[in-house]
Symmetry: C2
Subunit: 253 residues, 2 copies
Amino acid sequence: MTRWTGTPAYAQIANDYRTKIIEGALPEGSKLPSESELMNEYGVSRIVARQAIGVLRNEGLIISHTGKGSFVKPRQQIDRLARNRYRRRKLTGEFADDARRAGATANIEASSAPAPASNNIAARLKIDASTPVMRTAYRFLANGRPIQVSTSYEPLTLTEGTDIERPEEGPLAGLGVIGRMDSIGVRVTEAIESVTTRAPLPWEVEALDIPPGVHVLSIERTFLADDLPVETCDIVVPGDRYGLTYRIPVVDE
Amino acid sequence: MTRWTGTPAYAQIANDYRTKIIEGALPEGSKLPSESELMNEYGVSRIVARQAIGVLRNEGLIISHTGKGSFVKPRQQIDRLARNRYRRRKLTGEFADDARRAGATANIEASSAPAPASNNIAARLKIDASTPVMRTAYRFLANGRPIQVSTSYEPLTLTEGTDIERPEEGPLAGLGVIGRMDSIGVRVTEAIESVTTRAPLPWEVEALDIPPGVHVLSIERTFLADDLPVETCDIVVPGDRYGLTYRIPVVDE
DNA sequence: TAGTGGTCTAGACCACAAT
DNA sequence: TTGTGGTCTAGACCACTAC
């Protein structure tokens, strides 16, 4: 290919097609040229053509299928998980609520086991490291499709010996943290959520059925009862399908 | 290399080193084997060794330097931009506040121009498409390092002919949306923010100095005066350096 | 059967970094 | 000078898809 700058050939090809995709010249679902066609069009070897395709795939712009070709990904309509407020009077967990609103059937897998708090978890719960906590792993499915995985930690100093020691068992199973804590006289007053993004871990790719090039949103959520942390949770959702919506008040102060 | 499953060689190598990095066997800053060493260790060609390294680079786990090697990235300490509430009585914008709290020097570049509203912006501002809006492009730097780029849109039907027509000019420049709107009798009551993640666009890579394999957090923020949108803004921050922290109340309802 | 993408080998030249 | 990663060529075999 004609090289007029220091830009590598694969980057130039990727730039060309990225522009076409973003500007709409290549609409959703349309097919990109095959590797052979790119080789002819730009006069490069197959590896360079593949490298260019790989860049776009890593950016999540296209998806490749063996034997068929590469296609512009549908602009995922993003389901926004609203996080405006948490409600105290409620008979179901947040996820089941969201799913019902969206007209989906919700399934939740959960399993608990006691464990000593890691340094990270201890800091978030404001307890000493190695203090026992109840660790619960969740997997949420909507319409049979995995949507979210999370791991929650509750200090056993709060819940040991009560009905709610294990979130997924007992009469209040599935009620959510606020209702469960209410039942033992702990009044949750607010939640703090921190959102970051990163590449998925291998087990997250497996558990969430994440296509290549997609990152995850990682949410660190802590429920507080007047400055006392009563639960902290690591929540992971696929970044291509979910956004998070927050409502923020303007205060006179 | 010995192949005992259908797992490709490059994926196997990447898995090995990903595990070592995540579990801490390869601490931050430590050097990965060179491509030649990987070729010998696993008995593969250079392309396969490079492919494995490339996977880890795309996941943001390592960084490569020509002539030196590949190194485990320092676990970026994430600066969390707090978004608990917006304050009405305030003499500076949000960014300058954040920066001052963090002990950093803040610089803001901004430039405005009127433009017709795109379909997307029109929907967010609840106005008709092609209605004129003031479009302002911002670039925020802390300690000279680019941190955030954003583009805001304000309906000119609200601001045309007033002191605040251009956010970066006039007596109230740099005051922030709430204070500026107050000055023309528009009382902003809340903000709604939607957070998603995606690969950066080429100009964002340039403007934010983003290393390979890093995604961005994209925030769509709209300020409302009692359900009337008065400003909407697309905010982009590097995902490896910034997280977003929200405080969410628990309501009795 | 022909075309596609997925994986892999065996080379090559270059710019940059360490010595 | 030597070793490193960055880029590139010219082949090859395989599994899957469409016809």
